[in-house]
């Protein structure tokens, strides 16, 4: 496996894939922690699928589909956030509307675009090996923005996420921070589409965080651990994909799910041993 790894490093598509994995993992590690802790998984799923509308428009109008998807995803995210507060429509219903609206729009535009739609499957299921130089530059820029934002605003993000009402009573800029964060969520999702695809990208934002949360309950550590877990999961998936000739998006999810199952079993085992040890010690003290 290691030989294969170094052999592959010689190819530019592989080193591109590696860089894309690294920066996507950092982005998803940080943003995913925010998503999971605030229970925004469903809205993230909605934004992901809505972004397909942007991809369709990009195809039709001849833009870079990722760029138009990013714009479309940010507008959907802000739309859901704004309307659920102001229009008195329940948030999860709105998510359902945006989710299917974006997909429908994407399908229509792809359909009316003359000619065959190349690598459409790549957007749906991910194609890590076709990552371009531009993609990587955008990912690095996003990593800089996301990590900078979380370093500068860490305290405020943590407190607003934990208890919005309380933050409002302290005159904290809750609305602005919420809008900025949901926009970052949208951009992170879109720039991760190349790695895992629209259908699978939610996994990078939830599985690593859930694994990290088994071992720590510290917000900062969850961000760091889940970035690492996402990175190793992506690399493992990439190797699996190359070895068995299966789509990389799916093999990445498979390796992350496998890691989750192993981690969960391990944590059950460890907590079982801890309880037994405590019982044993108490028993011993009692006898003394």
């Amino acid at each position: 496996m290691t030989e294969l790894f170094f052999e592959l490093l010689g190819y530019s598509f592989f080193s591109n894939a590696l860089l894309a994995s690294l920066f996507t993992s950092i982005n998803c590690g940080i943003i995913g922690t925010y998503i999971v802790s605030r229970r925004l998984v469903f809205i993230s799923g909605g934004i992901t699928h809505a972004s397909f509308g942007g991809i369709g428009i990009g195809y039709f109008a001849g833009f870079n589909p990722i760029a138009s998807a990013a714009v479309f995803a940010v507008l959907s995210a802000l739309g859901i956030e704004f309307l659920s507060k102001k229009a008195d429509v329940r948030e999860d219903s709105l998510i359902g509307i945006f989710w299917s609206f974006g997909m429908a729009l994407g399908i229509i535009f792809v359909f009316i675009t003359p000619g065959y739609a190349p690598n459409l499957m790549g957007y749906l299921f991910g194609s890590l090996l076709t990552v371009t130089h531009t993609d990587i530059v955008m990912m690095i820029a996003l990593t800089a923005i996301v990590s900078g934002f979380f370093i500068v605003f860490y305290k405020v993000i943590l407190f607003i996420s934990f208890d919005q009402e309380y933050a409002i009573t302290h005159n904290a800029p809750v609305q602005i921070i919420n809008y900025l964060l949901i926009s970052l969520v949208a951009v992170t999702i879109v720039l991760s589409i190349k790695v895992a695809g629209i259908i699978l990208v939610i996994s990078l934002l939830t599985i690593p965080q859930t694994i990290a949360n088994l071992f720590t309950r510290d917000y900062k550590k969850i961000m760091i651990y889940s970035s690492l877990i996402a990175f190793f999961g992506t690399i493992a998936g990439l190797m699996l994909s190359y070895n068995y000739n299966i789509p990389s998006g799916a093999s990445i999810i498979m390796s992350l799910v496998l890691a989750f199952i192993i981690a969960k079993l391990f944590s059950i085992l460890v907590s079982g041993i801890r309880v037994k040890r405590q019982l044993y010690l108490q028993n011993k003290n009692y006898q003394l």
Binding site: L158, D163, Y166, A167, H170, N213, D218
Partner: protein, 251 residues
Amino acid sequence: MGKILEIKDLSAGYNEEIILKDINIVVNENDFIGIIGPNGGGKTTLLKVILGLIRPYRGSVSFTNGSLKRPSNMIGYLPQINQTDSKFPISVVDVVLSGLMSKEGMFSRYSGKQKKHAENLLDRLGIYHLRKKTIGELSGGQLQRVYLCRAIVSSPQLLMLDEPNTFVDTRFETDFFEILKDLNNEMAIIVVSHDVGTICWYVKTIACVNRNLHYHPSNIITQEQLASYNCPIQIITHGDIPHTVLETHRH
């Protein structure tokens, strides 16, 4: 005694329904007001208007110097504890420090002095040993104490508590109200409770809220007075308290 809060001709509610109508009340330094009233009568709505979480339909809430802008950190607030996500990955110390949010700026790190102050408060409420735990590991009563620390860490002028005795056992309830009594030397307190018997024992004055507000400038209230205030709640006397402040309720 300085005036710290004044509500004038206030009407407020949600979704076009007017829940509070023509409310007038003044809160002075060192006040200890118990807000009682039936469910749906607007007790929590009143707290939320004062906190700035709901914008009133009419009337005004003004603060210390007559300003309509609520100074940050002027009010400490203890919400009903089931309003927060107990699985959120945040430590006890961080929750307490979040009570200082606006005072020391949004971006700066906490000073050693502030951390020390937070730890002293935790110690004062007997939960210092829990400081590094995540909130999900605490019981309801412990969590309540953590939130009380958060509410008072900025030394606010006014402390507001929403049903603080819901998840608390009787023994801790007594401790809790003793702590409040102690805090009352430093700040005004408004406590909302359905448990009239207990709070009347500690508060100085009572406000009955049932759509309207009737201010009762004493902590002794009779069933007849409640009826005249249009406040249909039952007084339950606590027989074992040395001198009960309430008249016995007759059926």
